[in-house]
Symmetry: C2
Subunit: 367 residues, 2 copies
């Protein structure tokens, strides 16, 4: 289907075991594991007291995650070149480490004590403070240590990116996309923080945040980064951008739906969390828009109330269904999926079918 | 004195106006100002709601600082090549932006409300939350927003570094040093946080933290980064490392002395802060080691006590003088200065005299 080159290792990943995602995930995990072990050794050499930081970060990375972002880097490269190169696993792993950094800082800002079924990094470092018998406030040590652990992983993401032995102009192109990805996610996170406190937030405000902190960050920029490692092609770049923005926003909308209406046993996330945090999702904003005065009173009282009860949450969920907000978001999701499918129509296989499969993984999920 | 090359712009900086530091600082400031204006425009294009973030960061950078780290990058390059190149101002500015990031996160961890005579970034964003009439907890919005603003500047530091149009192998060498610098400062900051809670901290523990979070970060790595942009020379690298570690640790010791014994009107820092934070400086650790039981009782009661009074602080200062800890640290400083002078003995001018002058600025200061 394409010209064989010296870096063509199609047998390595085509067809990949465990679907498009599984095939990349296992190999990225191997890269991450080796890389993190080396960083942990370096930290221990600097000072054995740094071990709890390395341990907490390694535990978080090992505890899973779908490795969706690395898969998009991988398939962006594949779409651009038609072949595979194991060196691409390093920038792909870098994007996963950047996500690890974002989760660590996020859990501090959201005051979430757990992540992926483990203590969040700031919780683990608080516990270390207590176990080691250090003096001072363990909670604040956890916050400070967590900020620094996140910053450390941020640097590591960069180091893993730079470890890739790829042509230096390709690296320079991809580095620019990586810079853009990182600036946008920070901007999106800040706007999200602000949105929670915005009295007159609109569906448009919410969609813009979803595009920056999720669409661009999770799908579009990883795809473009992979493509940039392969070459320069404005047409492909536009295709990946249209596909990525649609799938990425859909990914966030699915996340919002699961956070509010999903089964906590499957999502691993307390169903009350998003409500107590006061997340202004499209779901909530549309419900508020369509609500009766009585329903609106409930929404205003419960959403963003850190003391909201399970009964309160049930009432909000019922309103989201009764106002048609749940259906409204599902319809929007269907439209985004159609946009995404159309965008990659002219790509050839296996890239086209891999991207469609990744879109399914991102959007049609229950966890 | 050296071969003229096309990138030789000796007239630009030799002799520099305002001393070795002033000459670089003005030019770095111009680079930073232009760069930050472009980033602020980009943020405003993404969403006008991002303006308070850009404003707070720009205000902090504009409020000053000695631009000591950029000067070390500049003179590292000069020592390696004998000439100057305006492109070096970009990596030099990147090191200053990285320092800005560190200050923003530091002020959150230390709960410092002000910096350089202005509201700290997290304070400015808290104030914005109140003025904009957002709902929710303004303090926590400030913390979250400050973490994200810091993360944003971290990305910007990288972008400014990458903007330098220098030979790609030189950039690759310097990038490795920049990675090392960033990992070390995070490690040093964590160890410093931990040191504050360590019941049996020793002078050796304190010196190791000073080496990582200050010596390497402020002097050695910036110098080596500049040198790496110029070429590869193991002898010069060793010279800069010996000089840098000595000056850098001395810089931190001077900071500790000024923080405890300096004039708050000159240092711009409340004299109580370091005592309340419980900083385990060489000064405090040596005093504790030499203290009578009565003096030790005072130190244990006051250092790290967030409610310590001015009288408590005066008592601690008196003990630091009476136990000979102040003299002990001054003697150590003199030794480090001698090590630094000896290290650069064989370098030729103007690099040698510039480095000695920078060492003076770093160590023999009253603010």
């Amino acid at each position: 289907m394409h010209t064989m080159t010296s870096s063509d290792t199609t047998d390595l990943l085509d067809p990949p075991p465990g679907g498009v995602l599984g095939g990349v995930a296992g190999r990225v995990d191997a890269v991450l594991e080796r890389f993190l072990r080396a960083r942990a050794d370096e930290l221990a050499d600097l000072d054995p007291a740094l071990e709890p930081v390395a341990d907490a970060v390694t535990a978080l990375v090992s505890a899973g995650g779908k490795r969706l972002r690395p898969a998009f880097v991988w398939w962006g490269y594949r779409a651009a070149t038609g072949h595979t190169d194991p060196e691409v696993l390093k920038p792909a792993g870098a994007v996963e480490l950047l996500h690890t950094f974002a989760l660590i800082h996020d859990d501090i800002m959201d005051r979430s004590a757990t992540r992926r079924g483990l203590p969040a990094v700031h919780t683990a470092l608080r516990d270390h403070h207590i176990e080691a018998g250090l003096s001072g406030d363990p909670e604040w040590f956890g916050v400070g240590g967590g900020i620094l652990a996140g910053d450390m992983v941020f640097v590591w993401a960069d180091m893993l990116f730079e470890a890739a032995r790829l042509e230096h102009r390709a690296m320079a192109r991809a580095r620019r996309v990586f810079g853009q990805l990182r600036a946008e996610v920070m901007a999106g996170q800040y706007l999200d923080l602000r949105l929670s406190g915005l009295p007159a937030a609109s569906e448009a405000d919410s969609l813009r945040v979803s595009l920056l902190k999720s669409g661009r960050y999770t799908v579009t920029r990883p795809l473009q980064m992979g493509a940039a490692l392969g070459g320069t092609d404005p047409d492909l770049d536009r295709t990946l951008s249209t596909f990525g923005d649609a799938v990425g926003v859909a990914f966030q909308l699915r996340d919002d739906v699961l956070g509010l209406l999903g089964d906590p046993d499957t999502t691993g996330k307390g169903s009350l969390e998003d409500i107590r945090e006061g997340k202004r999702t499209m779901l909530i904003l549309h419900a508020r828009d369509q609500a009766t005065p009585a329903q609106r009173e409930v929404l205003d009282r419960v959403v963003g109330n850190p003391d909201a009860t399970r009964d309160d949450a049930d009432a909000v969920r019922q309103i989201v269904v009764d106002t048609g907000a749940a259906d409204h978001v599902e319809a929007h999701l269907t439209g985004l999926r159609a946009d995404a499918d159309r965008a990659v129509e002219h790509l050839s296989d296996p890239s086209r079918s891999a991207l469609l499969e990744l879109a399914s993984v991102a959007v049609d999920r229950s966890a």
